[in-house]
């Protein structure tokens, strides 16, 4: 990004190759719509290109890209006025199928898919700052420091937000387990 900010237009290819896959994953999780996710990736990278003169030499480009992406995602969400984040449990489950081992038996696979769907529904219910903190760390692979920079809060606040999400998910899954155990006894 440094070379691009100094006027080397060819360096933008490297910026794209570094960031586009990460941003695409981030937007796919939010929109569940590949065309919209790609448009948001394009818009994010173009915003970075347009603002290249503001890039601080030697700074980390990833938090900057995710912060712009997050802002555009929120903007897009407000414009559509539709709750598209993890719109359906089915869609989320489809998206997470890749994480469930195909070697598992059909029963394991069904349970894992159901759990993923339940997690998605619970995630969608959580406040956006908490959900984003969790996703940036857990799913986008950012460090706590990078996530803190994206969100504009302290690292402690990011850890706290992520912890609240873990707790929320754990309590939901525990409740499901108890319900399942009761069902099997009955």
């Amino acid at each position: 990004m440094d070379r691009h900010a100094d006027g080397d237009d060819q360096a933008f290819r490297s910026v794209y190759d570094l960031l586009a896959p990460k941003l695409l994953g981030f937007f796919l999780r939010q929109t569940r719509d590949r065309a919209r996710a790609e448009d948001l990736v394009q818009q994010t990278l173009l915003q970075m290109h347009a603002a290249r003169h503001t890039f601080v030499r030697g700074s980390d480009v990833v938090p900057w890209a995710f912060a712009i992406g997050r802002r555009l995602g929120i903007d897009a969400h407000r414009r559509t006025r539709k709750e598209t984040l993890f719109a359906t449990a089915e869609g989320e489950a489809d998206a997470r199928d890749g994480r469930v081992s195909r070697d598992s038996g059909p029963e394991d696979f069904a349970v894992a898919t159901q759990t993923a769907a339940r997690v998605s529904v619970e995630l969608a219910r959580l406040p956006e700052p908490q959900r984003t903190a969790y996703q940036l760390i857990r799913e986008d692979g950012l460090s706590v420091a990078q996530a803190a920079e994206v969100l504009g809060v302290t690292e402690t606040a990011v850890k706290l937000r992520a912890h609240r999400v873990y707790e929320a998910l754990r309590s939901v899954l525990a409740a499901d387990d108890r319900a399942g155990a009761k069902g099997s006894r009955a």
Binding site: G58, W64, V153
Partner: protein, 221 residues
């Protein structure tokens, strides 16, 4: 599913056809606008009477007040505009706190000199209010134009902090011009404009500094 290569080609083509200033160009523009802002503000200061207008106050007190306020303005500038090693700059909470503290700090500092000399006349403070706002408009507008669409986290907080910074430097010139330090005058003539420009910066920043979605990019059929 769309081809990732297609997306890459689309993004690179769109970037190639979108003019974007480089760092050097950005620096040149910033320098030109900052210089123009200073020249306009000093020109206005001189046109309304300059330092001679505050001759009713001992010169050493005028300079002492100005020195303290300049140091405070420099600190505010460092907080608002300094970004350290991060393109994203300071946390929104820090920017908002700096913007909110500035008017209070200004009042405390200026009022500390009340009673150290006999004020030469009495004024309500409308002229100080007007001059401070007038001197702040150009630097604030310049900043908003230069950094348009580049603050993704909290554009309102950055706008407020920069608004307070611009009004703070303008307030320094106005204070060199104005020999009054009584509380009612300070509140109306020196603190209120800082609050007004800070709020204007927050409102304008929220609209101008945030990256916005552009019309949907063209997609191949």
């Amino acid at each position: 599913m769309n081809d990732p290569i297609d997306l890459r080609a689309r993004v690179l083509a769109a970037a190639a056809s979108t003019p974007a200033p480089t760092r050097a160009e950005g620096r040149r523009r910033a320098l030109a606008l900052a210089s123009t802002s200073v020249v306009v503000a000093v020109g206005l200061f001189e046109s309304i009477g300059g330092l001679a207008h505050s001759s009713g106050r001992p010169l050493h007190l005028t300079f002492a007040i100005a020195a303290g306020w300049a140091a405070s303005s420099a600190l505010l500038t460092w907080v608002a505009l300094g970004r350290g090693r991060s393109t994203l700059g300071r946390r929104p909470g820090v920017l908002a706190a700096a913007a909110l503290l500035a008017p209070a700090a200004m009042f405390v500092w200026l009022h500390a000199f009340y009673g150290t000399f006999a004020e030469p006349f009495s004024r309500f403070g409308w002229r100080c209010l007007g001059y401070t706002i007038a001197m702040s408009v150009l630097p604030l507008g310049s900043f908003l134009a230069l950094r348009r669409g580049t603050e993704p986290r909290s554009p309102a907080a950055l706008g407020a902090a920069v608004g307070a910074t611009c009004a703070s430097w303008a307030g320094l010139l106005v204070d060199l011009w104005c020999p009054l330090n009584n509380a009612p005058h300070l509140l109306v003539g020196h603190v209120l404009p800082l609050v007004v420009v800070m709020l204007a910066g927050a409102a304008a920043g929220a609209r101008v500094l945030a990256p916005r979605l552009r019309p949907p990019p063209s997609r191949p059929a």
